[in-house]
Subunit: 337 residues, 2 copies
DNA sequence: TCCGAATATGAAAACGGTTTCAAAAACCTG
DNA sequence: CAGGTTTTTGAAACCGTTTTCATATTCGGA
């Protein structure tokens, strides 16, 4: 394992000059540059990144916090973020909080120990006042998830609008008893969708009915459970808005199993526009989220913060959501394609 | 940002003693240990990990190579691996090769630059002779994917058996014209499954028919395409074995759309036992892979290699696969549950 | 009581780079 | 050609730990 010293010796130059060549600094004569390049080549030299990080105080590593990767929405986010990071010569460290505030807090130490240059939170499990002090050690950027108190950049989607257009679509189809499945209780994303949901209802003069609200629905199994609980109501809903395509798929699957026709007996709207929406029969009406754009933006903002070294600044970058109408809400054959 | 020096000064001791306390070394009196702990507490001291890595020559980071995260099989692998890593106080760096040999080679430099302690390959895009030289810089462990030439530990699944039991099941259901969809052309996992597929066929005296073979099928869209190509054959197959549940789902979705009944007109076997197998109608017969166990084992082996510092040793750890029979191959109502 | 072993502590070297600072050489400009 | 600027180079400091080595103290057994 050769060091910069070995290269310097072989080239008959100083460490400094070798370092200059490595880092493309100006003021190195073409002649010496060549000597250095040759020596590096001959020795198969590669700079040690720990040594680099120690001196230059940067690791080129960014930590990405997600609740769990298996959730297709977060898979997509991680995938997009990794690609964006690679393009900027950063590596991504994955941190699964598994919805646990302790795990999140524990991973936060990556920032304290300077193991990463910054943290991107796509999920928040602690109150902001708990997270805020970590800003002493490096930048935090929120991506998708957000917090009203947070004095940091947030790259997010217009979830209020998302909840609104999905619900309005159901209302326009004539539905009046609409159930609502939301995700994690403490998620602000889910909160905003609920605001949009309520807004649409109120425009139609409908009051939010608590018996139609289901919380902490995350997987297809939750969807199946919700279907049965809906069925057991004295006045079952004729439509349901869900916080994820998986939950929607679970509901549809269970509905079909019990002879309940979708969308005729029960219309279903998903969220995320995952692959499954095109595979289910009927295909699932859903809300498309520009995950890739959001990930790219979050990464850009993060890099900017790393360089500018100003971490405590609230900034909002918001992207729009789009309703995609498919078979689970309309019988129109054309829409099914 | 306080350093170990600050702690030492505040405690009235040397850096050495503080370091001993941090690393739980013996030969520190209880009295001094307390002094150090107090000083660390007071200053909110956390050791700098770059400095640590530089001196101790270990980063506690492991790179995991996958083609892409969105593929549910790899999502699951990453998720399990991250959990296993966290339990051993390691962090995971995600590297998506996107089926590109250059990207893979590029990421391999993480080992050279000592940015990671080891590399786990769940996907291989280069010939082994290209990868082998990197063993000079650290351990490589193969996980799921493998290479006949590789002189390193491989944690894998019995893919030959997987292909065999899935195909045998179709044969037992009376099918004789069985199509075969495999994944990436250069994948040995796919190769082994094909061996198992052929073995089952030959036991029934059937010769492998190239017109029934479809290569590089990865997504549900590929499945849809395959369905149409199968349909256009003079003697369409009555069953199809696929290398992934997504492809199976794509075939089933397209079949249903065109009035082709599954399993009556076409039986379909998937692979991976992903969530979608329970959501499709019919549910999908598939092969369950013990991904979590495999990930845990791979990580354990990796850590063992990091410590033992012997990297060039071929070792095979093989886990069994299990066929799960569902509605896409049998009409029996019971099996559908 | 004496001596070797175990315990306890610190000074200094080492890890492998980058950055600062100083100085030498080359280049202008009037 | 004097004097200033730009280009080129290297010595040494520095980043913040861990490790090595030396030394001092305490302990246990003969």
């Amino acid at each position: 394992m050769s060091t910069i010293e070995d290269v310097a010796k072989l080239a008959g130059l100083s460490r400094t000059t070798v370092s200059r060549v490595i880092n493309n600094h100006p003021y190195v004569s073409e002649e010496k540059r060549k000597l250095v390049m040759e020596a590096m080549e001959r020795l198969g030299y590669v700079p040690n990144s720990s040594a680099r990080s120690l001196r230059s105080q940067k690791t080129e590593l960014i930590a990405l916090f997600v609740p769990r990767i298996m959730n297709p929405f977060f898979s997509q986010l991680v995938e997009s973020m990794e690609i964006a990071a690679a393009e900027h010569n950063y590596q991504l460290i994955i941190c699964q909080t598994r919805y646990s505030s302790e795990k999140e807090l524990n991973y936060m130490n990556l920032l304290k120990t300077k193991q990463v240059d910054g943290v991107i939170l796509a999920s928040i499990q602690n109150d902001w006042e708990v997270l805020e002090p970590f800003l002493d050690y490096g930048p935090i950027v929120l991506c998708n998830e957000f917090d009203e108190q947070a004095n940091v950049p947030s790259v997010m989607l217009d979830q209020v609008h998302g909840g609104y257009i999905a619900t309005k679509h159901l209302l326009e189809q004539g539905h009046r008893r609409i159930a609502y499945c939301r995700g994690s209780t403490r998620s602000n994303v889910a909160n905003h969708r609920e605001i949009g949901f309520r807004k649409a209802l109120s425009e139609y003069g409908i009051v939010f009915d608590e018996q139609y609200a289901f919380r902490d629905t995350l997987h297809s199994e939750d969807g199946r459970r919700v279907f049965h609980r809906m069925l057991s109501l004295s006045e079952p809903p004729t439509a349901v808005f869900t916080g994820s395509d998986e939950v929607a798929a679970g509901i549809i699957s269970e509905a079909k199993k019990h002879g309940c026709k979708v969308p005729d007996h029960l219309a279903v709207v998903g969220f995320d526009n995952q692959a499954i929406t095109q595979l289910m029969e009927p295909t699932i009406t859903t809300v498309h989220q520009p995950v890739e754009k959001m990930a790219q933006k979050a990464l850009e903002v993060m890099i900017e913060k790393i360089h500018s070294r100003t971490y405590r600044q609230r900034e909002i970058y918001k992207f729009p959501l789009k309703l995609i109408i498919r078979g689970s809400t309309v019988t129109n054959k054309l829409a099914k394609l």
